[in-house]
Subunit: 305 residues, 3 copies
């Protein structure tokens, strides 16, 4: 039985097949409308995440399946001291596949050990959030036509941003990838990722402090949120916050085919005036998130249509 | 694309068609059992409301569709500072139609602005609760055979009762409507509704303090709750509370065809001994609430059976 | 209309039919995959219980039906002062059958009084939890081939354990049942059950303090949790806690066909090393819990396949 714990659980070749399937689903959704009839997805969310939970649920419904589960730890047996491993063995009696979010790093790994059903890691602490990464890859591949030979700007909180770390790990497997890391000093990409991932694999990258400096050379811009709390002092925050807000004026500096991604929710780091720009792809990204999860569910359940 | 934000969004003619559809659903539910197969309803409840949420969910299930969503703001991304408008754009990727309840007045209006799917306002603060009004209208029309030429008693908290205000707005569009407003001084219908709606349209009405005085002349009685907290002093509350409790003795004063409605939940304003009276229509009203929401979903999704 | 409020609501003969149906569902689940198409189960959980709720939901989905409801009192109208009886009348408009868990003893009895749909008591305070008992009986009958002529060990908290009390009531209806009651002095089976149930029906039983002393003579062992808080003093707890932990060493003392049951969740009263023992039946028990609930839903809805 196969699980999805880390975005690297799938080889580049397997990912290609998964994304081909997702694009086929996008093109001909009616072909898949009953693929999971009689199957049930359990969504076990030990911490709330509407977006991720609903995305999995939408995926299962689009495949004709059912969904059960819980949306926060309060309403789960976790409070009675049951181990995640036992919960999964129980859930294996109730469902055919499960998506689990847990505040503890490594929880998904423990969960799948005795699970009788495939486990999708829907986020384990600050560790992994592989379905977001798969959605990001599918979005990029669908919009640009390929995943290699690209200059990708990563902007915002590169220090704590789990999404960005996962995406880097996933993208360096493709040839010709270059990064422009756009962040304040305080929120730079951690040294261990720079040395262990970028340097070791000879991935070219540069670090800049202003979004405007990076925009002209990007094929793709991946935005994330810069939280005020992350800054050491108010002064720095006030000085720099506008550097990381994407607006219509800044978009004029960007190439015509530079798509903008964002894992959402956004607060104010992308101005709403950008939403109508054809390069704004963050809502499409949410849609691709459903397609890739549909493909993932089919693949893990070994259902061929 | 069409939404339901206010009960007046539909013209009288459109309402007639909607209610005809609801009555056809009541008569031949099996005809509609698969009308929404493959469609998904999102229930976005930023504040809990079991009754309204479950009524929409039941409606969608009766049409063969699916349901996803959240039942309180805690388990939603609202806490991450996402705008309602963004949430709706995201939900448009996950569902085909949505029902939203939000504590803020006007939230539904904002939500539908960028929504890619029809929005049903399931209550926005003290503002509107249009599907309750539609359910009320359908119940009256189904039981009495018409919506015009009636004397309607509105009893209880007429000051803060959103349901009653909406119902007045909706009923004054029909000819020959007269109101008897039954409430304590403290909870009288607000002046702006009396002047802007009743007086302006020359709708006859009288105000009385005792339910007993009104009952003999009513074609229909709409009960609401009188909350103790609304009174200025305990003495007034004790003196008057029984005036607004409907019991078997009071029902003897009412005409034989005077149906009793109540939006529910009731606490003690209708004695349980009234439940067996054939004129007690408040549980039927809950049932009509499902039929009208089925009709509404079909209409907003432009599905013809 | 029929409800399930107490495990004794069904005669021994009716239980046999129910368990036959459950075993047929186990053998040929596909036969039942659409038995409840178009039907809706309401899960009304006034206190959270993931396991019981999901088990009912899984049962309904396996029968091709839909599910709606709430998983805690917070998100219900209970907070508005509505009576359980009114809630059930409302829910009767939304669903075809309901499973209700409520913290108050007797709530289910009140609920079904005016209900328009069958009510399954999914636990009412410390009173009854009949579907657990039905699951226990089905598990025993499926594994042992019969429910009579057996020596059954009940281990742990026999004083407060609702599950154990219900199981005793249910098992004494079969001939040749003997009990070994294994518990610390503080947590012994209450006198009123010993006198009113065991003594009155001449059911042989013995009381022992150590699990090891009981194991060799058992046909079946039913484990429950011993909570530290139940002990009068820390000393007693430390002295005795290991007596009630089942591990691989203790399993060596048990007969080869002595199955181990546990209502779950377990904390540490069964060591995980026992999980691989073929006599460990507690996860099978969870699976049988789904089959018996499927049989129950079909029976209460009077659906024949």
């Amino acid at each position: 039985m196969r699980h999805l714990i880390s975005p690297l659980d799938f080889s580049v070749g397997e990912l290609d097949k998964l994304m081909d399937l997702a694009n086929d689903i996008e093109a001909t959704p009616e072909k898949y409308a009953h693929a999971c009839a009689g199957k049930t997805l359990a969504t076990l969310f030990y911490e709330p995440s509407t977006r991720t939970r609903l995305s999995h649920e939408a995926a299962m419904y689009n495949l004709g399946g059912n969904v059960l589960g819980f949306s926060s730890a309060n309403s789960s047996s976790a409070t009675k001291g049951e181990s995640v491993s036992d919960t999964l063995r129980m859930i294996s009696c109730y469902a055919d596949i499960c998506a689990m979010r847990h505040p503890k790093e490594g929880a998904a790994t423990v969960a799948c050990k005795h699970s009788g059903i495939p486990v999708i890691n829907a986020g384990d602490g600050g560790h992994q959030h592989p379905t977001q990464t798969l959605a990001d890859l599918l979005t990029i591949r669908s919009l640009k036509g390929h995943l290699d030979n690209m200059t990708i700007g990563l902007c915002g909180d590169l220090k704590f941003g789990r999404t960005v770390h996962s995406l880097i790990h996933a993208l360096v497997r493709y040839p010709g990838i270059r990064f422009v890391l756009i962040s304040p000093e305080e929120l730079k990409l951690p040294g261990y990722i720079r040395s262990d991932v970028l340097d070791k694999k000879n991935i070219p990258y540069e670090e800049v402090e202003r979004l405007e400096d990076a925009l002209p050379k990007l094929d793709l811009l991946y935005m994330t949120r810069v939280q005020k709390e992350r800054f050491f002092n108010e002064e720095d925050y006030v000085r720099m916050k506008d550097f990381y807000i994407l607006d219509a004026a800044k978009m004029k500096l960007a190439p015509e085919d530079m798509y903008v991604l964002h894992p959402l929710p956004r607060v104010n780091e992308i101005s709403v005036e950008v939403d109508d720009d054809p390069r704004a792809a963050y809502f499409k990204q949410a849609q691709y998130g459903v397609y890739i999860r549909m493909a993932l569910i089919l693949t893990l359940l070994e259902i061929e249509v």
